[in-house]
């Protein structure tokens, strides 16, 4: 059910959306370009979470920690090392992947909820380091005015860089989900005991998927520096993890593009509804309740299901 069941129509919609994204700096005001950049990189963060969550069935409750550490890793490399900033964008994701490996090694012995709880605890330890170590991480102020390479320092440059890196990352993640590794991962999600019995080393596969997810969360964190030239401890606070989790559930956690859709909805709501009221989470809560009651597979999950059903009915009619 994870396959793209949208077929030809889906491809047309997707192509049109891509063209629109590439042309949008020509007609969208600067603020909206910034907003779309944030949606793209947060969507990448949510998609990277969905790899262990939706496809791997792992309760990855504190994913933001890898996003934040990726961002801090890149920012500290750029501001403290004196090496080319491009180097920082490589170090950021690698730092996140390494942290994911270490935390994964500790947490993987537990399963389900216990895995998630331990991850939240360990992640909070990392957060307090970023929050309190003033001389190194800037403490609760974070780091501001991080120098970004000239080629991508203009708003449009940052936008195109974010768009290209996000697309490349999504393409890679999609490749991974479609591969034998991805199949094994979905098998583990549906039934770990059975997976082991057909010869799959369950824990090792889970550990690798955590490292991959951590890496791409780090990529998203590094992109945030390009767009915002700043990092702050909120980026690895657990409330952001929760928000990203909601994005996956809202958009559809058994679909590939669901988390991206969820990110677009939540970030747009936060931006526009908070213009009218401080209680922007209230409509979000109502929306979330409606989704849970009526679309348990998320918005995109519902659409895919519907299209799939139509397809089956059509085939039955034709035969």
């Amino acid at each position: 059910m994870t396959k793209n069941t949208l077929g030809g129509k889906g491809r047309i919609v997707g192509g049109a959306l891509l063209i629109l994204l590439f042309l949008s700096p020509l007609f969208l005001p600067r603020f909206y370009i910034y907003l779309v950049s944030i949606i793209l990189l947060t969507g990448l963060l949510a998609t990277s979470l969905n790899l262990p969550l939706g496809y791997g069935g792992i309760f990855q409750f504190h994913h933001a920690v890898f996003y934040g550490v990726g961002a801090y890793g890149a920012a500290l490399m750029i501001t403290k090392s004196g090496l080319s900033p491009w180097f920082g964008f490589v170090v950021g994701p690698l730092t996140a992947a390494f942290l994911s490996l270490i935390m994964g090694l500790i947490c993987i012995r537990l399963s389900k909820l216990y895995f998630g709880m331990l991850q939240i605890s360990l992640g909070s330890l990392v957060w307090i380091i970023a929050y309190r170590w003033y001389s190194f991480t800037g403490g609760d102020n974070g780091l501001h005015g991080i120098p970004v390479p000239n080629a991508i320092s203009s708003p449009n440059g940052a936008y195109y860089f974010t768009l290209l890196v996000t697309l490349l990352s999504l393409w890679t993640l999609h490749k991974i989900i479609d591969s034998p590794f991805g199949s094994a991962l979905q098998g583990i999600r549906d039934n770990p005991v059975r997976s082991a019995m057909i010869g799959i080393n369950v824990k090792l596969h889970q550990l690798v998927v955590l490292v991959i997810a951590g890496f791409f969360a780090g990529v998203a964190g590094s992109l945030f520096i390009v767009v915002d030239t700043a990092v702050f401890p909120d980026m690895l606070f657990w409330t952001l993890s929760l928000e990203v989790l909601i994005m996956c559930l809202l958009g559809g956690w058994f679909t590939f593009l669901g988390p991206m859709l969820g990110a677009a909805i939540i970030i747009s709501m936060r931006t526009f509804v908070s213009g009218f009221t401080d209680y922007w989470t209230l409509p979000l809560g109502i929306l979330m309740m409606l989704v849970i009651f009526f679309l348990p597979n998320g918005i995109l999950g519902y659409i895919e299901e519907k299209l799939h059903r139509n397809l089956i009915e059509q085939t039955i009619k034709e035969s």
């Binding site: 019995m197 057909i198 010869g199």
Partner: protein, 247 residues
């Protein structure tokens, strides 16, 4: 081929398996029978690494495999099906069998080739031999119980095992499904030359296809022998017909 020596496992003081012995020779069909709660499934779980035994040994082809994790047991050539259906619910019948083959070929570390094109022929071969080819694209959450039980066997075959362990292969099947399944098991033994170990409550099936039978009561082995030996054994009759060990 398989040699189980005084294997034991208890759960919180209850000895589920208590000194069980079992021998399976190459090419045989061996049945394990016993009243409900005798420890048949626990025995299979101990052999296949789902549970770790407290005492005893499991030897496979002369090698000690006691307490190895399931994936290692599988790689040594033992596949099994489960009594309670254990398949990948969100995947199609085809994908279920395909993963099993890809795993055997150690290709699950391949991150970038689309799996749709891999191991297709072998998957189709297995699906045809078990009669699931017509339904290959259905999601397994939506197929009948009988088909799922057959899929269980198909997945086990994907591991290209030397020893196939079947935990109540026909439980809950409709009569015509049952006879189809028995034909399948006979075929696997006759044509593929598989060694098969299974447990089953239906005595007609057991005496119909097994070469040898092992009887378990209260976690222990009371007898291992040919069908006739088991039929005429005093202790077995007591266990089944209401002696001191009545179920």
């Amino acid at each position: 081929m398989l040699d189980v020596k005084s294997l034991s496992k208890s759960f919180g003081g209850f000895a589920a398996v208590n000194g069980a012995n079992l021998e399976v020779e190459k090419g045989e069909i061996v049945a394990v029978i016993g009243p409900n709660g005798a420890g048949k499934t626990t025995l299979f779980n101990l052999i296949t690494g789902v549970l770790k035994p407290e005492n005893g040994k499991v030897l496979f082809k002369g090698e000690d495999i006691t307490g190895l994790p399931s994936y290692e047991v599988c790689r040594r050539g033992i596949s099994r099906s489960f009594q309670v259906v254990n398949v990948f619910q969100r995947l199609s019948i085809f994908e279920n069998v395909q993963i099993s083959i890809l795993s055997r070929e150690r290709r699950t570390w391949n991150l970038f080739t689309p799996s749709a094109k891999l191991a297709v022929e072998e998957t189709i071969g297995i699906l045809e031999s078990v009669g699931l080819m017509g339904k290959k694209d259905r999601t397994t959450g939506l197929i009948s119980h009988g088909d799922r039980k057959v899929l269980e066997i198909a997945m086990a075959l994907g591991g290209d095992p030397e020893l196939l362990i079947l935990d109540e292969p026909t439980a809950g099947m409709a009569p015509e499904e049952t006879s189809r399944c028995i034909e399948l098991i006979k075929d696997l033994s006759g044509k593929r030359g598989l060694t098969i170990l299974f447990c089953e409550h239906d005595m007609e099936i057991v005496f119909g296809i097994a070469n040898r039978i092992m009887v378990m009561v209260r976690g222990g082995t009371i007898i291992q022998g040919s069908c006739d030996e088991v039929r005429s054994n005093q202790a077995v009759q007591e266990a089944y017909l209401g002696g001191s060990d009545a179920c």
